[in-house]
Structure formats: structure tokens, C-alpha cells
């Protein structure tokens, strides 16, 4: 069976700087997979290569077995690839509902309609509200995003991605910058995500990684150092040297 998401020999260089070096990676369907690595390991670059924000220098990206390397972002989204951003990338001056509805409307194929009012799009509105309710922020639907506390903005970040009904979801540091009190809510949200979505999480917070992930890939200087279960990774000497070693020394 083909993986939900797969890369073969994925490379990306900016001039002499190689930020992704022959990455072979498989994300199985329904996976809870974490990508970790020290700062500057190329984690976010890897995500951008997967989504199509960046074009690889060489190598292929396969989504559900289909080669999507040549596809732009919108094409990959239509094939079930959703993402969140490490730094909030929201429609700040719009309502929480609109933030989610914009993506939902694209998926429903009604976002290009220019004659009938948006507020008449019942299905889009209801689905967006339902999603907000699932993440526990339905009460904020009418508020402007920039008036929300940061932790809730991070939930909106996840809600937008879920609105795309992805089969593969890339979470780029979902709890980044959130005080630990609020990060519990984000963890709960992550735990409640549908089982059939394949999730790749990029995270610095090791507690979160070991609690959430069932498989871990370690990326160092654009290369895959190793991959395994959380236990294997925790026991791996090389990982301790390049990564955990710095923290536990």
C-alpha cells in the first residue's frame, strides 16, 4: 500500500547551502509522526517542500502514491494536504469564522462566486462553526482574530487546516510560543483529531513529541539521521550526541 505522503531523494539547495539532502521519508496513513532536530536542521524547509511553497532542486514528493512534485500548493491542498504554520499565519483583521470559512469555501468550490452574498452560504458557515466547536472556540466565532489571546490564535491556526479536510496534516510547531498553561488545550485538540488523518508534527517541545508521536524522524543538517519509535529514538546514542545530548549534558 502506498504511503499517505512520501518523499524520494528530496534535495533543496540555496546556492552552496544545502538545506535538504536526499531525504527519503514515508508517512503512513493514520500516522502520528514527529519530525525533530536541532535549530537550523531544515525542518521548516522540509515542510515547505512538502506543501509546494518551495520547489525541490531534485527528488519527488508523492501524495497518496501520486507524484505531486510539479503541483502548486492549491493542487496539493485539493489532494488532501493541509498544514499549519510555526508563526501564526492568519487573516488577522477578519473574524474567527471567516478565517476557517475561507478555506472551507475553497473546498466546497463556492469561493469564486461573486454574485450571492457569502453570508448565504449555509453549508460553509455551519461546517466552519462545527469545526470551531470541536476545538472549543465556537464562542469566539464573531471576534476578530487579532483580538484573541495567543493560545486561541494557535487553535484557529489548526482549525483553518482542519477545514480543508486533509488526509495528511503537517503541524509546524503547533504549541510554539504558547504558555504551558494554555498548551494543554492545544494538546487536547491534537489528541482529538480524527484517527484516519496522517499527521506529521514538527516540534521542539520533547514532552509533547513523546506524548503525541508513535514514530519519530530526526533531521540534522538537512539529512535524516535516524527514524524509529519514541523508545528507539530516546535510546539512540547518535541522537543524544547531536540533539538531546546538548539538553541533558
Amino acid at each position: 500500500m502506498s504511503a499517505a505522503l512520501e518523499t524520494r531523494g528530496l534535495c533543496k539547495s540555496f546556492g552552496a547551502l544545502t538545506v535538504a539532502d536526499r531525504i527519503d521519508f514515508r508517512l503512513e496513513s493514520g500516522a502520528r509522526h514527529a519530525l525533530i532536530g536541532p535549530n537550523g536542521a531544515g525542518k521548516t524547509t522540509f515542510v515547505n517542500l512538502l506543501t509546494g511553497l518551495l520547489r525541490p532542486s531534485s527528488g519527488t514528493v508523492l501524495l497518496g502514491g501520486e507524484d505531486v512534485t510539479a503541483l502548486a500548493q492549491s493542487g496539493r491542498v485539493k489532494r488532501g494536504l493541509g498544514r499549519t504554520f510555526q508563526i501564526n499565519t492568519l487573516f488577522r483583521d477578519m473574524s474567527v469564522l471567516d478565517n476557517v470559512a475561507l478555506g472551507v469555501a475553497e473546498r466546497h468550490g463556492v469561493a469564486g462566486g461573486f454574485w450571492r452574498p457569502a453570508s448565504g452560504q449555509r453549508a460553509v458557515r455551519e461546517e466552519s462553526l462545527e469545526l470551531l466547536a470541536r476545538l472549543g472556540i465556537a464562542d469566539e466565532a464573531g471576534r476578530r482574530v487579532l483580538d484573541l489571546p495567543y493560545g486561541k490564535q494557535r487553535l484557529v491556526e489548526i482549525a483553518i487546516a482542519l477545514g480543508l479536510k486533509p488526509r495528511v496534516l503537517l503541524l509546524d510547531e503547533p504549541a510554539a510560543g504558547v504558555p504551558s498553561l494554555e498548551s494543554e488545550r492545544i494538546l487536547q485538540a491534537l489528541d482529538s483529531l480524527p484517527e484516519d488523518i496522517a499527521i506529521l508534527i514538527i516540534e521542539h517541545d520533547m514532552d509533547l513529541v513523546f506524548r503525541f508521536a508513535r514514530r519519530i524522524t530526526v533531521l540534522v543538517q538537512g539529512e535524516v539521521l535516524c527514524e524509529g519509535t519514541p523508545q528507539e529514538i530516546a535510546d539512540d546514542v547518535r541522537v543524544h550526541q547531536v540533539y538531546l545530548g546538548e539538553r541533558h549534558a
Binding site: 506543501t51 511553497l53 502548486a72 500548493q73 492549491s74 491542498v77 485539493k78 498544514r83 504554520f85 499565519t89 492568519l90 487573516f91 488577522r92 483583521d93 477578519m94 473574524s95 469564522l97 471567516d98 470559512a101 475561507l102 478555506g103 469555501a105 475553497e106 473546498r107 463556492v110 469561493a111 469564486g112 462566486g113 461573486f114 454574485w115 450571492r116 452574498p117 457569502a118 453570508s119 448565504g120 452560504q121 460553509v124 458557515r125 466552519s128 466565532a141 464573531g142 483553518i160 477545514g163 480543508l164
Partner: protein, 324 residues
């Protein structure tokens, strides 16, 4: 009110939205001496509406919107003065199509860029259009302009009279049509998507929106509306000069819209009204220094009222509500 658009918005007409039309009709009946100034204001309102659509809603920065306005003006002028096509509707249609095509062609390039590059490219497009009109003397009249424009009665029924009554109402009808179209558009899912692109184009890409296609669509539409405004100017003045093209009218339009308030739909009504009346008044009182007055107004608005005149009125109303 700053109009919130999108899936939460109430798209029904508020009573305040009828005010511009009541005022416009009142001017027609009560101030017959000012109809030519009124037609000019209406023309610029339509032009400013087209700019607000791309600048205020889609976030496309431009200093070259006069390229489309000017092209529309020249197409109508050339049709009448050189080719003898005097039907106002046909002139209007040709102007809209020509400006729309230019919008599509230049937009295909301009909209691939952002920020300052985009600004410079729009400026370049307008400068090229100005130079073409300047050099193509046999067709455009060059620096002398194009006179001898005649306009046949609208639908064969309504003759353009010397008091400017028909011209005024003709402008009013087209502004109403343009407003209606643009208003529907900004409350639609398409309008919400444009606002999304303005707010965060990176995220719009990430939710699968065809960002470039959306921008090109709205840019073309806006260009066509600007072309109609240009045609109106020619029809009501029966003359076209180089002053409809280039940086200066583009910049002036931007000043009008900023004065009124960007991204509010009705800023495009208030801005040209205040600007052109001030210009008319100041040019008569202080023929040499009138630009000083305009400049002063702009400085005050930009320093103290980023939302323009409508932004000020919003703030005043909000304060009164709080006290009440």
C-alpha cells in the same frame, strides 16, 4: 461604518447607504448651476470605486490606475472624433472592453509581483500609456488633445443638453450601476477571498485558493470600470487631453480615496466629493496656491485620521454612542 465583509456579514442595505443617492438627486433638483461639477464628481466616484475594489479590498497597490481611465477616455474620444461612432452606449462598451483587456494584459505581469516592485510596474504601465498618447498625434491629438467629440442621444431618446442635466443623470446611472455591482461583489465569497488575500496571501495559498487567478479577475474588472469612468469623462466634457493619463491623475485618485477612507466602499464617495469641491473652491479663491490647501488636508488626514474622513465620522459616532 467600516463594512465587515465575509461569512458573518450582514449584506442588507443600511439606511445610511441610501444617503449618497438622496444627496445626488437633491443636487440635481436644487443646484442646477453645479451640474457640470456634479458630473465630474460622479465620474471620479466611479473611478475611485474601481480603485477601492483592488486597493481597499484585494490589497493591490497601484500608482497607475489612470492608464485604464485614460484609455477609456481616449477610446470614446477616438471613436467619436475620428471614426464617427457617436452612440454613447457603444462608446462605453468599447472603452470598458479596451480598458479591461489592458488590465488583463498588464495585470498578468504586475500581479506576479508585490510591494514596491508592483507599485513601480503600475507606474511604468501608466507612463508608457501617457507617452503613447503623446506621440500618436494623428490619432490622439497629442499634447493638443482631441476635440470634436460628439455624443448622440442615449438610446436615441435623451439628448445631451447644454445645462448638463442629461450628462449628470447619465453619470448617476452608471455610478449607481458600478456601486451595485461592486457592493454585491465585496459581500460575496469572492469578495471575502479577496479580503483574505489582502490580509494574508501566504495563508490563502495554503488553503488552496487560486490567488493569482482571483487577483487577475478583479484587476481586469476594476480596469473595465475605470475605463467606463474615463468614457464618462470624455462624453461629459466632449474633449480628451493628456491630463487623463500618467502619474498625476493616478496619484490624485489615490489622494481622493485616502481622504475618503480606503476599503470602506463609501470612502470612494466622500473622497472625490471633498477633493473636487475643495479644488473648485480653492482654485477660485487662491488660483496660485490651491494645491497647498489640498496638501494640507491630506497631511491632516494621514497624520490624525488613518481611516480617512469616514474613519473620523466612525470615531465620532462611536464616542457619542458610548456617552449615550
Amino acid at each position: 461604518m467600516n463594512h465587515p465583509v465575509g461569512y458573518n456579514a450582514d449584506h442588507r442595505l443600511r439606511w445610511t447607504e441610501w444617503l449618497p443617492w438622496v444627496v445626488a438627486l437633491a443636487v440635481f433638483f436644487l443646484l442646477p448651476d453645479y451640474l457640470s461639477l456634479g458630473a465630474r464628481v460622479l465620474t471620479y466616484i466611479l473611478f475611485a470605486l474601481s480603485l477601492d475594489l483592488i486597493l481597499g479590498y484585494a490589497g493591490i497597490i497601484t500608482l497607475g490606475h489612470a492608464a485604464f481611465f485614460g484609455l477609456g477616455a481616449y477610446v470614446t474620444g477616438i471613436l467619436s472624433a475620428k471614426l464617427g461612432v457617436n452612440d454613447p452606449l457603444l462608446q462605453m462598451l468599447c472603452s470598458a472592453c479596451a480598458a479591461g483587456l489592458l488590465g488583463l494584459a498588464t495585470g498578468a505581469l504586475v500581479l506576479r509581483t508585490h510591494g514596491l516592485t508592483q507599485l513601480m510596474l503600475t507606474l511604468a504601465v501608466a507612463a508608457v500609456c501617457l507617452e503613447v498618447a503623446n506621440k500618436a498625434t494623428p490619432v490622439t491629438g497629442g499634447a493638443d488633445g482631441l476635440s470634436g467629440v460628439t455624443v448622440a442621444p442615449i438610446l436615441g431618446l435623451f439628448r445631451f443638453d447644454m445645462y448638463g442635466r442629461t450628462a449628470y443623470l447619465w453619470c448617476l446611472v452608471l455610478v449607481f450601476g458600478g456601486w451595485w455591482l461592486i457592493r454585491r461583489l465585496i459581500y460575496s465569497p469572492f469578495g471575502a477571498a479577496l479580503t483574505g488575500i489582502r490580509e494574508n496571501s501566504v495563508r490563502m495559498h495554503a488553503v488552496g485558493a487560486p490567488v493569482y487567478k482571483r487577483l487577475l479577475t478583479v484587476y481586469t474588472l476594476s480596469a473595465a470600470i475605470a475605463g467606463i469612468a474615463g468614457a464618462l469623462l470624455t462624453q461629459t466634457n466632449q474633449f480628451v487631453g493628456l491630463n487623463v493619463l500618467g502619474f498625476e491623475p493616478s496619484g490624485e485618485l489615490l489622494v481622493m480615496l485616502i481622504l475618503g477612507g480606503v476599503g470602506r466602499l463609501y470612502g470612494a464617495f466622500v473622497g472625490p466629493l471633498v477633493f473636487l469641491i475643495a479644488q473648485d473652491f480653492l482654485a477660485r479663491q487662491f488660483p496660485e496656491y490651491w494645491y497647498f490647501g489640498i496638501g494640507l488636508m491630506l497631511v491632516v488626514v494621514v497624520l490624525f485620521a488613518r481611516g480617512g474622513i469616514l474613519g473620523i465620522s466612525d470615531a465620532v459616532i462611536a464616542r457619542m454612542r458610548r456617552k449615550a
